[in-house]
């Protein structure tokens, strides 16, 4: 989220921001709700899942607006990244082959796992045993291999 600045020092966002302002507001409201949701009765590892998911959705939204629909200008895109409306690092991964659908950066951090491997959600569905439903531990992803 963008840091709150005083109105007098705030610079107007680049042109085109008004088009996507409402949708970004919806995302930020969702994020606020997720942050304030009570975590009693939620398993400890699942507490952050909604946060990861909303963050992913919003990054995806900005990414698609710029790279796929070409709906926003480069100026606005950079402004959005600068103001933390999207995860710059995650988008950087999406541009690489094999990572087009990556759910979160934690899932490709091999150093954080016991066997130096990626998360289970990176395994293509075709290679999984049948009827094996998975939700990855870090973000609740159900599979984000590019081939799925």
């Amino acid at each position: 989220m963008p840091a709150i600045r005083h109105a007098s020092k705030r610079k107007a966002p680049p042109a085109g921001f008004s088009d996507i302002e409402d949708d970004l507001l919806i995302f930020s409201n969702k994020m606020k709700d997720a942050e304030n949701a009570p975590t009693t009765n939620v398993p400890r590892h699942q507490v952050h899942w909604p946060i990861f998911q909303i963050s992913h959705q919003r990054s995806r939204y900005v990414y698609e607006l710029y790279y796929e629909k070409e709906a926003i200008s480069k100026e606005l895109y950079e402004w959005l990244l600068k103001n933390n409306y999207a995860d710059k690092m995650l988008i950087a991964k999406w541009k690489k082959t094999g990572y087009e659908k990556l759910c979160c950066l934690r899932c490709v951090q091999t150093k954080e796992t016991n066997f130096n491997s990626t998360c289970i959600c990176r395994v293509p569905k075709a290679q999984m045993k049948e009827d094996q439903a998975i939700e990855c531990v870090s973000c609740g992803c159900r599979g984000c291999a590019s081939s799925d």
Binding site: A12, D19, I20, R60, E68, K69, A71
Partner: protein, 552 residues
């Protein structure tokens, strides 16, 4: 009448009639010590060599050939307002074993149609006479019957009655023998066929005894199987015989009358249809375009994410939502659409001149600015107004405009007037001319600080006066795009129609399916009831059974 005919048949030997304390009549046989509520009849004397009873199937066919009068097919059961069940005809009993009718209650005088006459001058209308001498009209086109005779048919029925009376009188006048001989000859074959089942039933007939023919004229009562014969007699004056083919034909004709395609009223397989009878075909491009139309019509924001669209669920109720079958396809089309739409929007924006943020701000200043307020006070007072919050304009500029405006308000009015006229004169003729409306002045004027300095009334008078002195606008012509728009609209209408056609067709198919299902269920229920009746052995049934054993 029913009872009177009933009493005429004498009891067989050994049987006596008694009245129970409850008022019921019962019969007692002193020799066998049997008592029964049903009136016993004499076991028929064995008839000389007769062909063995026909198989059930054969006899059924035979009766069906005789029957013929009501329309065939599904509506059969509802024939006649009396709700007569055809399955209960006595003739079936030879084959089915006589369990057809539920006889646990006092036998009701069941009514059934016996003859039908076409009503002259009224197509599709028939006058039907029933066994009990009642009559009703039947419309074969609508397949409906009415006890109450519609007014428009009165004349036709009157004519029919007169004709019938005349015929009767003639028949009476003619020597009886002459009339009877050909009739008897005609009856011979059917009577022979009739005899075996009637005899075979034998003792069973006794239980069925109560449903006695009720006829108009007494003369026929003596004839042996009166029922069959009567229907046989009536058969010739039936105008039409209906069978499955006829019904199908009628249906087809009715369909053609209403201008329907065979596909729309069903009854034929899909393969049989000609091309184009299923409505206009829908290509994939069409369904995509339909979905895009839908997105356009609902004013979907092309910048919004797909998830938002799905969550809102506004589109789901629309018919065009079903043009695409899978969510994946919808998303693809939506992506394509939003891309196009965004491009379009951007082009549009590039084309239209940039709206000057100064214009609304200056108008706002003219309304609210007073020399009494300093800029910070003014800003604080109106900080909620959209003109004050507009990001397109810097705060610095706002302040500058405000100060300038306040300073100008202090100038004498004559200076302000000359400034305004100078501003108006500086406009080119293409921008400002005689045709310009005072409400649609060019933005160059509106965005100028000189324009707002004068009070509204004085300013507007000045501007109008100046405009009226100007020459008309220079000629220019641009008429394009109208044809293209027309074509687009036509395309759209065509797609809509195709979708509606498809929908209609699907609804028709569904209806037909349901109808078939209901028909099948009805059949099943009927059969179940029959089985139940067969299983249900009442006291009477047992007695009948015993009597049958005795008779054998």
């Amino acid at each position: 009448m029913l009872k009177s005919t009933h009493q005429k048949i004498p009891l067989p030997e050994g049987w006596t009639e008694h009245k129970a304390p409850t008022g019921h009549t019962y019969y007692y046989n002193a020799a066998t010590k049997q008592s029964t509520y049903t009136r016993p009849v004499a076991a028929p004397a064995p008839v000389a060599p007769v062909p063995p009873p026909a198989t059930p199937a054969q006899s059924f066919l035979q009766y069906q050939a005789v029957e013929g009068q009501p329309s065939a097919g599904a509506p059969f059961n509802s024939f006649g307002p009396g709700g007569q069940q055809h399955g209960g005809r006595g003739g079936f009993r030879g084959g089915r074993g006589g369990h057809d009718r539920s006889r646990d209650s006092r036998p009701q005088p069941t009514d059934k149609p016996i003859s039908r006459h076409a009503i002259p001058d009224n197509e599709n209308w028939f006058l039907v006479h029933t066994k009990l001498g009642r009559r009703f009209v039947y419309n074969s086109a609508k397949d409906q019957s009415y006890w109450r005779i519609p007014d428009k048919l009165k004349d036709g029925i009157l004519a029919l009655d007169q004709q019938r009376i005349k015929e009767k009188a003639e028949a009476l006048a003619a020597p009886k023998e002459a009339a009877n001989v050909p009739q008897g000859a005609a009856q011979r074959p059917t009577m022979a066929a009739e005899a075996p089942p009637a005899n075979a039933e034998g003792a069973e007939e006794s239980s069925e005894y109560e449903e006695v023919e009720v006829t108009d004229d007494e003369g026929e009562d003596e004839e042996n199987p009166p029922k069959r014969q009567r229907t046989d007699e009536d058969a010739p004056d039936e105008p039409v015989e209906f069978n499955e083919d006829d019904i199908a034909y009628q249906l087809a004709q009715m369909g053609q009358e209403y201008g329907l395609d065979p596909g729309e009223y069903g009854d034929e397989t899909m393969e049989g249809w000609e091309d184009g009878q299923e409505g206009m075909e829908m290509t994939e491009a069409d369904s995509n375009a339909l979905f895009k139309d839908l997105l356009n019509d609902f004013g979907i924001n092309p910048y919004s994410p797909w998830e938002k669209l799905v969550e809102e669920g506004k589109l789901v109720d629309d018919l065009r939502y079903t043009a695409l079958t899978s969510m994946k396809a919808r998303k693809e089309v939506w992506e394509e659409w939003s891309r196009e739409k965004i491009k379009e929007l951007r082009e549009l924006r590039a084309k239209e001149e940039k709206k000057d943020p100064r214009i609304p701000y200056l108008a706002f200043l003219q309304k609210h600015a007073t020399p009494k307020l300093y800029w910070p006070e003014f800003k604080r007072k109106y900080k909620k107004e959209p003109e004050m919050r507009d990001t397109a304009m810097a705060d610095k500029d706002r302040e500058k405009f405000y100060r300038d405006h306040i300073n100008r308000l202090k100038l004498p009015q004559s200076t302000l007037k000359t400034d305004l006229s100078a501003l108006l004169k500086s406009q080119p003729l293409s921008q400002l001319n005689r045709d310009t409306l005072p409400s649609h002045l060019p933005p160059a004027i509106l965005a100028d600080i000189r324009f707002i300095s004068l009070p509204l009334g004085i300013r507007d008078d000045l501007v109008e006066d100046y405009i009226s002195t100007l020459p008309p606008p220079p000629e220019s012509n641009d008429d394009e795009e109208t044809e293209e728009q027309m074509k687009q609209r036509q395309d759209r209408e065509r797609r809509q129609k195709a979708l509606e056609d498809r929908e209609k067709h699907v609804a028709e198919q569904k209806r037909q399916q349901r109808r078939n299902l209901e028909f099948g269920k009805g059949r099943l229920r009927e059969e179940e009831m029959e089985i139940e009746r067969a299983m249900n052995v009442s006291k009477k049934g047992l007695q009948g059974h015993l009597m049958e054993v005795d008779g054998a």
